[in-house]
């Protein structure tokens, strides 16, 4: 049994600092286990948000050694254990207390996205027939556990604080799931451009890199949405321009 030092950010909206805690590290432990152990033994008022402890609910998002991670899925033996482990709250959201941040902005943003609207049922029994291949296309997006790590890492939110003008990678994934849903018949391109701020994304793929569900956010969600925006918002002028200039574009 070895003990290790954990530098945990303690504080609130007024400010805070990293505080050192030493605790025993045993086989198979994840970062969340260490936080819980410290909470139970030394700091009962240490605030941490968590729930399923199996990477399925997306509650325990934090920055571990500076990287946005789910604490429940980060094994200590995957980190350098000869130095202290730093654990800090997500920086793209206002701090509430210690490791807990105020993520309510995300819930407000989601409500602004035009909801699912299915086409009329096409089967005799009043339901729909769908091909597995069409279901599979959006499955990747529907795996999202809403941990908001992609929002945390996105420089448009994290550095430039464009929360009022930009919905962030999570909600591009959400919009993509709706746009590509085999039954949905709404169009969201104009809103994604005008209110969603999709133009701010300059496809650095930071979001894709931190997604614990391995959703290919940039390539599979954001870029196709950007293409739709080009096709549906800037038609017919830009489309004519593309045709005339010989540039390839996606058919509407």
């Amino acid at each position: 049994m070895a003990t290790n030092t954990f530098k945990i950010w303690r504080g609130d909206a007024e400010g805070g600092a990293l505080q050192d805690y030493s605790t025993e590290v045993t086989e198979g432990m994840v970062v969340l286990d260490a936080v819980h152990q410290i909470q139970a033994e030394q700091a009962p008022d240490l605030a941490v948000r968590w729930n399923c402890k199996a990477g399925k609910c997306g509650s325990c998002s934090a920055e571990v050694n500076g990287m946005p991670r789910l604490m429940c899925m980060t094994r200590l033996n995957s980190l350098p254990m000869d130095e202290p482990v730093s654990i800090e709250p997500m920086r793209a959201f206002p701090p509430v207390k210690d490791l807990v941040t105020d993520v309510s902005w995300n819930y407000k943003v989601k409500k602004t996205i035009r909801p699912f609207k299915p086409r009329a049922p096409d089967a005799e029994d009043g339901t729909w027939r769908m091909d597995q291949a069409d279901v599979d296309r959006v499955m990747e997006f529907r795996k999202c556990i809403e941990c908001y790590l992609c929002q945390d890492v996105c420089h448009v939110l994290r550095e430039h604080h464009k929360h009022e003008e930009f919905v962030g990678p999570r909600f591009f994934v959400y919009a993509a799931a709706l746009e590509m849903h085999p039954l949905d018949e709404e169009t969201r391109s104009k809103e994604l451009w005008e209110e969603g701020g999709i133009g701010y994304c300059n496809i650095t793929k930071c979001c894709t890199n931190v997604c614990p569900e391995n959703i290919t956010i940039t390539d599979n969600a954001i870029i196709p949405l950007k293409e739709r925006v080009v096709d549906q918002v800037f038609d017919p002028v830009s489309r004519a321009f593309r045709v005339l200039s010989g540039r390839k574009g996606k058919a509407p």
């Binding site: 729930n51 509650s59 094994r75 207390k97 807990v100 105020d102 729909w128 279901v135 499955m139 085999p182």
Partner: protein, 605 residues
Amino acid sequence: MPEFPTHEYDVLIIGAGGAGLRAAVEAAGQGVTVGVICKSLLGKAHTVMAEGGAAAALANVDERDGWRVHFADTMRGGQYLSNWKMAEIHAKEAPDRIRELEAWGALFDRTEDGRILQRNFGGHAYPRLAHVGDRTGLEMIRALQDHGVHQGIDFQMECTVTRLLLAGGRVVGAFAYDRDRGRFRVFHAKAVVVATGGLGKAFRITSNSWEGTGDGHALAYEAGAELLDMEFVQFHPTGMVWPPSVRGILVTEGVRGEGGVLRNSEGERFMFDNVPELYKSQTADTEEEGWRYCTGDPNARRPPELLTRDHVARSILKEVEEGRGSPHGGAFLDIAWLREKIPNHADHIKRKLPSMYHQFKQLADLDITEEPMEVGPTTHYAMGGVRVDAETQMSVVPGLFAAGECAAGLHGANRLGGNSLSDLLVFGMRAGEHAARFARENGLEGLDDAAVAGAAEAALAPFEGDQTAGENPYQIQYDLQDIMQDRVGIIRDGSKLESALEGIAQLRARAKAASAPGSREYNSGWHTALDLGHLLTVAEAIARAALEREESRGAQTRDDFPDKDPEWGKVNLVLTKGESGQMEIERVPIPPITEDLAQIIEEMG
């Protein structure tokens, strides 16, 4: 009396898992105002953990299926203690509840002809579980959540109820605190639905998250409702056993549905030697027949790994006790063996069981397409809960409804896998519908100021007194979990249960002195101290009912009464709070079943 921020609704729903959300959507659809209290953030409730699927006799995969078969399977699984009316309603209404989720955006895996695909699961005669990979619960929660936020429902996130408020002989609301600031809130409503889920945190090894502290069970009990079937706690046979920090996390039954087999340290498929009489005629005789069943052969019978959860859990325990367990005290669950049957078996497994692949790879450093998993029983589900009317889901307390895991009746002595997701849809909807009706038919009763003041005082107790000399609430919870795990677990006996009740009584005294240093802001020590009251109530209810029921049936195994007793098959146990505050237990006869339902059971064997 101190003033607290007060929220007023027609219908207040406590809990935002599948049952709570389905109830909220229904009530909002009826045109009443609805508030939902979530203990966590919206969309994080324990329903997201449900993996295998939702049972509904859609008959998309096997035409022989229908509500009658589903009804009979549920009754058999529950060892005939289930509320037969609820079992009938559930079997009849589940298909519509699944189909309407699609209209709200949920996506399920498809059959060749484009309908909802269904998979095999323990105790179900035909492939019956609508599913999407192994993350069905997340899909359902997300569909309900994303639909619900556009229905005008008011969601109160990270808010915990400590007491239900009563006045004029009915429920009138709830007293709660918010997690971030620790401020008190009063919820004033015409009808209240408790949909708080389970109580697994009363045990040391559990698949439940920190939220599963039996809140709805205890809140309703304290408010005068009856608790039913509390002795029946489901120990899921396959939880992770290694590494220690993840012990108890669920390994879906879907692994076995897809062909996964259980072996002991000697490589034997020991389940073939553990087939109970009641299931002999429905179980495969050979490994080859079992595999054919998993591939969808309608003429094959199910492999013994897909017997009901209570049987499989006990069988694993027996292997471990007799020295044939895996290195960390479980059994081997092998899906990697499919390499003998399927080309590209690794891709197949990753497609069918993506979360399981991910979970083992990341948490145990194990590739399930290459190596067997180590699994063992984990506390999973409470069959027992608030006793409700089968049609309306109302308890004996006027205006107080319950749905989902914290309600009881459907599952009897043992729940079939897949029946919980359909349960929460069917009865969540009914609870929402009838709570809305109750709200329309009954005005808003005034709050009782003294009751509100009393609730506030009790909630502040952990901050009173000597903070340094007080008890650590976490330690009390650990001690309770040890008592429940060791003395009220899978194998029980009278003397262990009696000693558990003594231990629980001692913990109650210690819990009174539990203290929480620090402020009221996001203070989990304080929250744990407040949850203890609920946990101790459900722990006592489980132990008392387990002691009273002197037989082994379904999830209850008594070493001192190893056989099923037909006399005990005629009664349910009901617990209520007595006049002087003590817990009282009563044997309540099961009402005679109607002739048509009896005939279905007869025919389906």
